[in-house]
Symmetry: none
Subunit: 226 residues, 2 copies
Amino acid sequence: MEPLLVYPDPPPPVLAQGLDLAGYPWTAVGTEPDIERLEPVDGWPGAVVVGVMDPDGALAMCRALRKGDIPLEPVLLVVAAEQLPDLDMREDLFDDFCVLPLQPTELDARLRHLFHKTGRGARPELVEYGDLALNLETYQAAISGRPLDLTYMEYELLKFLASHPGKVFTRETLLSRVWGYEYYGGARTVDVHIRRLRAKLGEEHAGLIQTVRSVGYRFGQSRWTP
Amino acid sequence: MEPLLVYPDPPPPVLAQGLDLAGYPWTAVGTEPDIERLEPVDGWPGAVVVGVMDPDGALAMCRALRKGDIPLEPVLLVVAAEQLPDLDMREDLFDDFCVLPLQPTELDARLRHLFHKTGRGARPELVEYGDLALNLETYQAAISGRPLDLTYMEYELLKFLASHPGKVFTRETLLSRVWGYEYYGGARTVDVHIRRLRAKLGEEHAGLIQTVRSVGYRFGQSRWTP
DNA sequence: CCGAGTGTGAACGCAATGTGAACCAGCGGC
DNA sequence: GCCGCTGGTTCACATTGCGTTCACACTCGG
């Protein structure tokens, strides 16, 4: 089994003990660039990030994990009880979290739960919405069984939208979350990619991506069971 | 906001307190058939199932929740630490779990996390007044379940009014708070938008927006209804 | 019965978006 | 190196949605 990624280096003794006890091999990293260095070991099962003594560093690490070419899922964040109210879910930086003091059995249960949910080893990671299916491992997309030939950016954009059905995103938000935080470019770029996506989705499914005038774009039908 | 479904009935006092404290309305059910009875209230935001004193009953309840026509997501399971090693993830009966002793902040954080992940509008993103509901993150509005097709300005105006029910606003105030502080344009613009809002609300709900002659407009019932 | 205040229908004009095409940078193959 | 190809970005123009305004009808209060 490939080892779990753990931050920071060295991790708190409780965490190390808990992982050892539960039988999970792990490797600690201290800085974000280290991820790149380790990337070649493809098939990381996931990561555990501890954000107790350095919350900002931990969140930055989460961000780096999410942005990586191979999204390192799942991400489990360890926090202190005092930090809970300030946890911002909007950025979707982690898949689950664990509160100190760390109980080995809870840690184990959460890891088992996460691994099962993300289906590591079992089935490929999929994003699905209605007739649309994205295979995150093979970078393939299909709608009603028909394969879609998407470019990289088209795929990333569609993946992001389909992962948040019903939600409206401004062009600026899409640029920062799909293209990258530091992206500087015209907002009209989004329009063009949306247009191409709609074209490739086909006339019957073009409506999956809706324009919300003066705001941005939305994927999917009214999740209107308010 | 629709109430959370809670099992069993009555739930443990800690849970009830924690939910109340975090501001989540909830309804307790004691048996599975009760779900069917309650189903009509479509749009349950989720459920919390406590499996401490009756693990089998709790798991049966989880199964029933997953089986329903409207999958009642997300499901949060509350367990005791001793039960953790026996938790079976393979059936995918719950979306997250919480370990006793229950910390209100952790409960709140887990619910926030779940609501965000499942895409169900997070709580603060909703504006509700009677039959009217505005989903701030999908930019959708509905009244008595019927979706409203509002333009951007109509939506913003209604959002502002519905956020301050009972209060009267002059046209000038509305222009500065909805259109923008530096806006300079005719005050009659407000009238036209109000008219269109009333039309879209439908005859039966047009009265939600009342004209206060020589002053402005008010949304909802007056505060001091005699 | 008058006048201020408001409702209503229609028309105008701009800004937001759609659309086609050009531009450019990277990349692999002869 | 030169070439064509692919894909991302940008530009120019067409289109349309909708916010604004106006003119007129109506209502309420004194």
